[in-house]
């Protein structure tokens, strides 16, 4: 198979189509946020879009570590927790602070970044840009924690690294739940009243434009774009080299620890940002929710999407969240299409079906939906012409038969 560089014009048209698709997608989201009527479809679509874009970001950040740098880390939930808490602590308006921290006997934090901005650029824009600043700070704090944890942990390999990161994630959760820190983290009680997705609207001359679902989708897409650019840069190549062969990478002069540390910090930064978005989505957060089960859920999505595939992680996040929260809900409803009563369609049956679906995927598509490939126009075209590779297998068989007929003379 000979592969050559694509001619410039072909690449340009591809980019053009991609931009058009993207613009169309955002126009749809804009309509959904502002003009489409609320019915049973749109009221489910918005939260599913919000949550799946958050999970897509967190899964891609995990994929950067597991799939591209070859570091089997299970600390994602811990860094999300840091991000979520930092975000919440910085953005609770001062007037609600006493009410939120009432069980911890008040708080020592008496400022709120969205409020400070509101004083400068107005009510709605203040909470909008304040939220963005808080998300960035949340990511940075998560990154700083990752840098500290990385120093001892990244000297370990494979399973040991996984266990150590898992342990650190649990330690982080325990520390945030510690009642002695109640005045900062509110101990094991929840944080609430901070800026959420429903506050994401900008008032322009009396017209309120809502960004309820565009906001998380856009932030997640921006972060994922950054990770894609990183992976395609020379640093990304070094990450992949470390994944493929550490000794050879070291012999090429790549500083293993420095690059692993870099990958770990960047991944944790985006996990922290994802945690902040998750806090916005949930409107209340509690450290209890960030258990290892959450890391496993993320890992599951990464595996279903394909380890080492960014587009796989994104597609799998959407499918996973949509099935879990929406499409398989009818299994719990007690009846089919709301008419036919089915006795075993009751609470919890959704989880049973879901587990079976996951088992089928893991057993029969062990490389995940995308393997380590990415979505491309060529790939989509090929899929439309030849779904599930039936023609390709046939062609391969024909080639093999022809080679056998030649009596193995043509072998290389």
């Amino acid at each position: 198979m000979e592969k050559t560089l694509k001619p410039r014009s072909e690449k340009k048209t591809e980019n053009f189509i991609a931009i058009i698709c993207l613009v169309a997608f955002y126009v749809l989201l804009f309509l959904l946020d502002n003009y489409l009527p609320r019915n049973s479809f749109t009221t489910m679509l918005i939260p599913v879009l919000q949550k799946s874009s958050i999970f897509a970001l967190v899964c891609v950040s995990m994929n950067l570590l597991n799939g591209f740098t070859g570091l089997f880390s299970l600390g994602q939930a811990g860094f999300m927790l840091i991000g979520a808490y930092v975000y919440a602590m910085l953005s609770i308006p001062d007037e609600y602070r006493e009410a939120v921290y009432q069980y911890s006997g008040g708080t020592n934090i008496h400022f709120s970044i969205p409020e400070m901005l509101q004083g400068v650029i107005g009510q709605s824009a203040g909470s909008f840009f304040g939220a963005i600043i808080c998300i960035i700070i949340a990511g940075i704090i998560a990154g700083i924690f990752a840098a500290l944890i990385g120093i001892p942990v990244l000297r370990l390999k494979s399973d040991y690294l996984a266990i150590a990161t898992l342990g650190f994630a649990e330690i982080i959760r325990a520390v945030f739940q510690w009642d002695k820190l109640g005045k900062i983290t509110n101990g094991s009680y929840q944080l609430r009243k901070y800026t959420a997705f429903t506050d994401m609207n900008i008032n322009i001359g009396g017209n309120v434009i809502k960004f309820t679902s565009i906001f998380p989708v856009f932030i997640a897409m921006l972060c994922i774009l950054f990770i894609i650019l990183l992976i395609n840069s020379s640093y990304g190549r070094a990450f992949k080299a470390i994944r493929d062969d550490e000794i050879a990478a070291e012999a090429m002069g790549i500083n293993l620890f420095k690059h692993k540390q870099m990958s770990f910090i960047i991944s944790s930064f985006f996990a922290g940002a994802g945690g902040a978005l998750l806090a916005m989505y949930q409107t209340t957060i509690q450290a209890m929710a960030f258990k290892t089960a959450m890391t496993y859920e993320i890992l599951l999505i990464v595996v279903i999407g394909g380890i080492g595939s960014i587009s796989g992680s994104c597609i799998a996040s959407f499918l996973f969240i949509a099935c879990n929260e929406w499409w398989l809900r009818f299994l719990d409803s007690g009846s089919l299409f709301g008419i036919v009563p089915v006795p075993f369609f009751r609470d919890g049956f959704r989880k049973v079906v879901f587990s079976v679906v996951i088992m089928v995927i893991v057993l029969f598509f062990s490389k995940g939906i995308m393997g380590d490939k990415e979505i491309s126009f060529k790939g989509i075209g090929g899929f439309l012409k030849d779904p599930f590779g039936a023609k390709r297998r046939k062609a391969k068989k024909a080639v093999a038969a022809a080679a056998a007929a030649e009596g193995g003379e043509g072998n290389e």
């Binding site: 190549r237 493929d244 002069g253």
Partner: protein, 237 residues
């Protein structure tokens, strides 16, 4: 005589309590092919890995062009101009051939196009397959890729750890032709081999290692004619 580029003095390497290299000294002259031959476990690979900085020496010194580089980390050693082709090729299987070659030049900030073309001239096969994943190449091609990747760092000294390992005799001959060709273009080569016959025929200077010590040294042709070397490594005739 040409001047010494790399000089090893009384080098000792330990793994835990085991002494792998027990104080060896040798010089590599600029523009030469120098080979270390010896049986399994003689300490050849340990010597090479120590020079590359992958293993820290227990004693002795490594001097590159008058500068002591003992115990430096691998990154600095590659920067200073010593690159290793590791044993068993160890190319990056999921990276393309081109990406593999670019990894060799990872520490360089200057333009690598000329060197890329140079490597492609040396190995036209790699140019044909530049878009293929490294892992899909045959053993011989992978060895070419490993050598090409090391050359991309523009080394003063290139160290090869058993380039003939696991390759068919005809491919091995090709690899040694390439070693000679690279050397002609001015790269100093330190070669480790179990295939003593080929190595000594190619090398200007040879050293024989046995259980962590150098027991014999001399020009390649002289060692090739030596009776004890013949008996131990070449098979009696």
């Amino acid at each position: 005589m040409s001047n010494t580029i790399l000089s090893i003095k009384d080098l000792k390497v330990n793994y835990g309590g085991i002494e792998a290299v027990k104080g060896i000294s040798f010089d590599v002259n600029e523009g030469d092919i120098v080979t270390l031959i010896g049986a399994n476990g003689a300490g050849k690979s340990s010597t090479l890995r120590t020079i590359a900085g992958l293993v820290k020496p227990a004693g002795g010194s490594i001097i590159l062009q008058g500068e002591d580089i003992t115990g430096e980390n691998p990154t600095n050693i590659v920067k200073k101009g010593i690159t290793m082709v590791p044993e068993g090729r160890r190319i990056f299987p999921d990276l393309t051939v081109l990406e593999n070659l670019k990894m060799g030049a990872y520490l360089r900030n200057d333009n690598i196009t000329d060197d890329l073309n140079w490597v492609y001239d040396l190995f036209p096969r790699l140019k044909e397959r530049s878009w293929q994943a490294g892992g899909t190449l045959s053993g011989g091609e992978q060895q070419m890729l490993a050598v090409g990747r090391a050359l991309m760092s523009r080394p003063k000294v290139i160290m090869m750890d058993e380039p003939s390992l696991g390759l068919a005799p005809i491919i091995v001959r090709g690899i040694f032709d390439i070693i000679r060709e690279i050397n002609k273009q001015g790269v100093t080569i330190l070669l480790i081999e179990q295939n003593a016959n080929m190595a000594l025929k190619t090398a200007h200077t040879g050293y024989v290692m046995e259980t962590g010590r150098i027991t014999m040294s001399g020009p390649g042709s002289q060692l090739l004619a030596d009776d004890s070397v013949k008996a131990a490594y070449l098979g009696k005739h």
